[in-house]
C-alpha cells in the first residue's frame, strides 16, 4: 500500500520517547494525495461527459467537462492545502488500567489558514473529524483499547483530509511515538499477609503509638474514615475546619505485598497486588511492595502508589 512509505517522518519521530513538544509539521514530504473513490467515480462521469461532447460535437459539453476537470485539479491543491502546514503535537497519555481505553492526546495547531474536516484516527476506518480555525488549535483524544498491562505504544496515526469536494483524499501517517502505561487490571481477592504484619491488620485496634514530635507530619484536611482520635480539636475551635494530625508511617504496621507469597499465575498475582495497592492507598495505609528483584516502600501516599503501580505494570518487561 502506498501509505506504507513513511519517509520523512521517521527521523523526526523517534519512537522511543514522546517528542511531543517539538511536534511535526505536515509538508510535502509526508503528505500523500490520490483521488478517493468518489473522485474515481467523478472521473468516470467526466469521461462519459467527454464522450458525449465528442460524439455530439458540442463545445458547451466540452466546456462543462473541462471546467469540472479543472475543478478537480484545483481541488487537489485545496485538499493538499487543507493538510499542509498543519502541526501535530503528541501529548503524553495518562496511565490506565488494563481493559480500559487508553487516551492519546494529540494537539493540532493550524497556521494562518483555517482547516476543515480534518480526520484523525489509527486507521482509515475509524476517524474523528475536527475543524480548526486560522491560527487556532484543538486538542484531540484518540482512544485505543488496552487489553494487557505494560507499555501500550500508540500505533501510527493517520491524518486525513477530503475537503472541500471529497474527490481527493490527502493523508499522512505519523508515528506519534506515544506510549501509555497500562497498569494490571485490579482483581479483588484475599491477600495472604506476610508474617509480622498480621497484628496490625484491623483498623480499630490500631494504636496511635509513637505520637512523638518526630513523627508528626503536620495537619491535613479531614477525610471520612479518619480516626477521631487524631482530629485537631484546637484548630477546629479556632474555626480552621476539621484537621487531622498526620503522622509518619509507623514502623512495623505496614502491609507487605509480596509477589512471591502469592499463588497463581503471574498475571493474576499482579492483578491481585494491583488491587491491594489501590485499596491500601485508598485507606492511606503504608505498605511495602515486594517484587522479585525490587522492593518499594515502606511508604504511603500518591507518589508511592504511582511507583508501585508502575512497577506492577512493567514487571517482567524490559522498559
Amino acid at each position: 500500500m502506498l501509505a506504507e512509505s513513511l519517509k520523512g517522518v521517521r527521523p523526526r519521530w523517534p519512537g522511543r520517547i514522546v517528542r511531543a513538544a517539538g511536534g511535526v509539521r505536515l509538508d510535502r514530504s509526508c503528505i500523500f494525495i490520490v483521488p478517493s473513490r468518489v473522485g474515481l467515480a467523478f472521473g468516470v462521469a467526466l469521461l462519459l461527459m467527454l464522450l458525449a461532447a465528442i460524439n455530439y460535437r458540442n463545445n458547451l459539453a466540452y466546456v462543462l467537462t473541462f471546467l469540472l476537470g479543472s475543478v478537480f485539479m484545483v481541488g487537489v491543491l485545496h485538499t493538499y492545502r487543507n493538510l499542509a502546514g498543519l502541526r501535530l503535537q503528541a501529548g503524553a497519555p495518562a496511565a490506565l488500567f488494563a481493559g480500559g481505553q487508553a487516551r492519546f492526546p494529540i494537539r493540532l495547531d493550524s497556521d494562518g489558514r483555517a482547516r476543515q474536516a480534518l480526520a484523525l484516527g489509527w486507521s482509515s476506518g475509524d476517524l474523528q473529524l475536527h475543524d480548526l480555525p486560522a491560527e487556532g488549535s484543538a486538542s484531540v483524544e484518540l482512544s485505543l483499547p488496552a487489553p494487557r498491562r505494560g507499555w501500550l505504544p500508540a500505533p501510527r496515526l493517520r491524518v486525513e483530509s477530503r475537503f472541500p469536494l471529497g474527490l481527493m483524499v490527502a493523508w499522512s501517517w505519523i508515528d506519534p511515538g506515544q506510549r501509555a502505561l497500562v497498569y494490571p487490571q485490579p482483581l479483588a481477592g484475599d491477600l495472604p499477609l506476610s508474617a509480622g504484619a498480621q497484628e496490625a491488620a484491623e483498623d480499630e485496634g490500631r494504636q496511635a503509638c509513637g505520637e512523638g514530635v518526630d513523627d508528626y507530619q503536620g495537619l491535613r484536611a479531614y477525610r471520612p474514615g479518619d480516626s477521631k482520635r487524631r482530629l485537631d480539636w484546637k484548630a477546629y475551635s479556632r474555626g480552621r475546619g476539621l484537621l487531622v494530625k498526620d503522622f509518619a508511617a509507623l514502623e512495623g504496621s505496614e502491609f507487605c505485598l509480596d509477589f512471591s507469597a502469592l499463588a497463581g499465575d503471574g498475571e493474576s498475582r499482579l492483578s491481585l497486588l494491583c488491587h491491594w495497592v489501590l485499596d491500601l492507598s485508598e485507606r492511606q495505609r503504608p505498605f511495602v511492595l515486594q517484587l522479585p528483584g525490587q522492593r518499594l516502600g515502606p511508604n504511603s501516599g500518591e507518589a508511592h502508589r504511582e511507583a508501585c503501580l508502575r512497577a506492577l505494570a512493567l514487571y517482567g518487561e524490559a522498559s
Partner: protein
C-alpha cells in the same frame, strides 16, 4: 553602568564562594523588580547573600525573623499613644526598608505571611486606614526551609506566584567549602564590602530593563513554553499569564546583565528554572515541591528556534 554591575557581582562572589549562578540570578531578580524566595536548609548562606546584596547595592537592610508568634504588626508597625502630643504616633515596622530579609517565612502563621506578601505585591502598606508607601526600591528576600521540616506553614501556590524567582543555594562545591573552611565564614568579611551602586544608579538600571528588546520570534518561544505547560499532561497546571510576564521580565534583566539590549532564547532558558520551578507541579506528584524535572523537560523539548 554594566561594568559597575559586574563589579557588584564580583564583590558578592568574594563573600559567597562558588555560587556565581545563584548570585547572578538574585541580582537579575532584583533588577527585574521581583522578589526572591530562597529555599534551603539553614546555614547555606541565605543571610550572607541578602546582606551582601544590600551592602553592595547601597540599600538599607532589615531582617525579620519569622516565628510562629510573629504578628502582622511586628512586620508593618503599630501606632503607639504618645502622652506628650496626646495622640497616636505611628511607629513603622521593619518593612519600611529597602531590602528585607524575611527569614524562615514558613514558620510564621499564614496571617503574618500574608501581611508581608500583600505589602510586596502592592508596594504600600495600609495600617489603620492610612496608606503608607514603601521605599523604592523595595526588595524582599524570603527564605524558607524545605517543607519536610515540622511545624511550618508552607506557602500556598497563590503566594508562591508573587515571588519572581525561587532559588536554592545548595551545598557548596568542595573547593569552595575548603576555601570557606580555610579563610573563615564569608559573613565575617561582610563589613569589608563597599557599596558599588547608589539609589539613583539602581533606579536608572531598573528603568532601562523594560526597554530591552523582545522580538516576535522570542515571544513565540515564550508562548511555546507556556503552551507546553498548559497542554502537556504531565503538568498539573500550566503557567499563568503572570508567570509568562515574570519569565519575560527576568529574561530581560538577565540579557541586560549579560550586556545585550535584546533577549535571546538562552536568556529565557537561563532564568526558566528559577522563574518557573515554583510555579509548576507534576501531575503525578501534586504534593511535591517542584517542577525541577518539568523545567528540564521544557528546556529539552520545546523548540527554541
Amino acid at each position: 553602568m554594566r561594568a559597575r554591575l559586574e563589579s557588584c557581582l564580583q564583590s558578592i562572589d568574594r563573600v559567597l564562594l562558588g555560587k556565581e549562578l545563584q548570585v547572578r540570578l538574585a541580582l537579575t531578580c532584583l533588577l527585574a523588580r521581583g522578589h526572591l524566595l530562597l529555599e534551603d536548609l539553614p546555614g547555606m548562606g541565605k543571610t550572607t547573600l541578602s546582606h551582601a546584596l544590600a551592602r553592595v547595592l547601597g540599600l538599607g537592610f532589615q531582617r525579620i525573623q519569622f516565628t510562629a508568634d510573629l504578628l502582622p504588626g511586628d512586620i508593618l508597625g503599630t501606632s503607639v499613644f504618645d502622652k506628650e502630643s496626646a495622640q497616636f504616633v505611628f511607629h513603622p515596622g521593619p518593612i519600611f526598608c529597602e531590602l528585607i530579609l524575611a527569614d524562615e517565612i514558613n514558620r510564621a502563621t499564614p496571617k503574618s505571611q500574608s501581611a508581608l506578601l500583600e505589602a510586596m505585591e502592592e508596594g504600600q502598606v495600609t495600617i489603620e486606614g492610612a496608606t503608607r508607601p514603601l521605599p523604592s526600591p523595595f526588595f524582599v528576600i524570603a527564605t524558607q526551609n524545605p517543607v519536610t521540616q515540622g511545624g511550618t506553614f508552607a506557602l500556598p501556590e497563590s503566594q508562591l506566584d508573587r515571588f519572581l524567582m525561587r532559588l536554592s543555594l545548595g551545598y557548596p562545591a568542595r573547593a569552595a567549602e575548603k576555601a570557606l573552611l580555610l579563610a573563615g565564614s564569608g559573613r565575617q568579611r561582610l563589613p569589608e564590602l563597599e557599596p558599588v551602586l547608589d539609589h539613583a544608579a539602581l533606579a536608572a538600571i531598573q528603568a532601562e530593563i523594560p526597554r530591552v528588546r523582545v522580538s516576535d520570534a522570542l515571544v513565540d518561544y515564550v508562548l511555546r513554553l507556556v503552551e507546553a505547560t498548559r497542554s502537556q499532561p504531565q503538568f498539573a497546571w500550566g503557567l499563568s499569564p503572570r508567570g509568562s510576564l515574570a519569565l519575560l521580565a527576568a529574561a530581560r534583566a538577565w540579557a541586560y546583565l549579560a550586556g545585550r539590549d535584546y533577549v535571546i532564547p538562552e536568556d529565557v532558558q537561563a532564568v526558566l528554572p528559577a522563574v518557573a520551578g515554583h510555579r509548576l507541579r507534576e501531575r503525578a506528584d501534586p504534593a511535591g515541591q517542584g517542577g525541577g524535572t518539568l523545567v528540564q523537560w521544557l528546556l529539552r523539548e520545546v523548540a527554541a528556534v
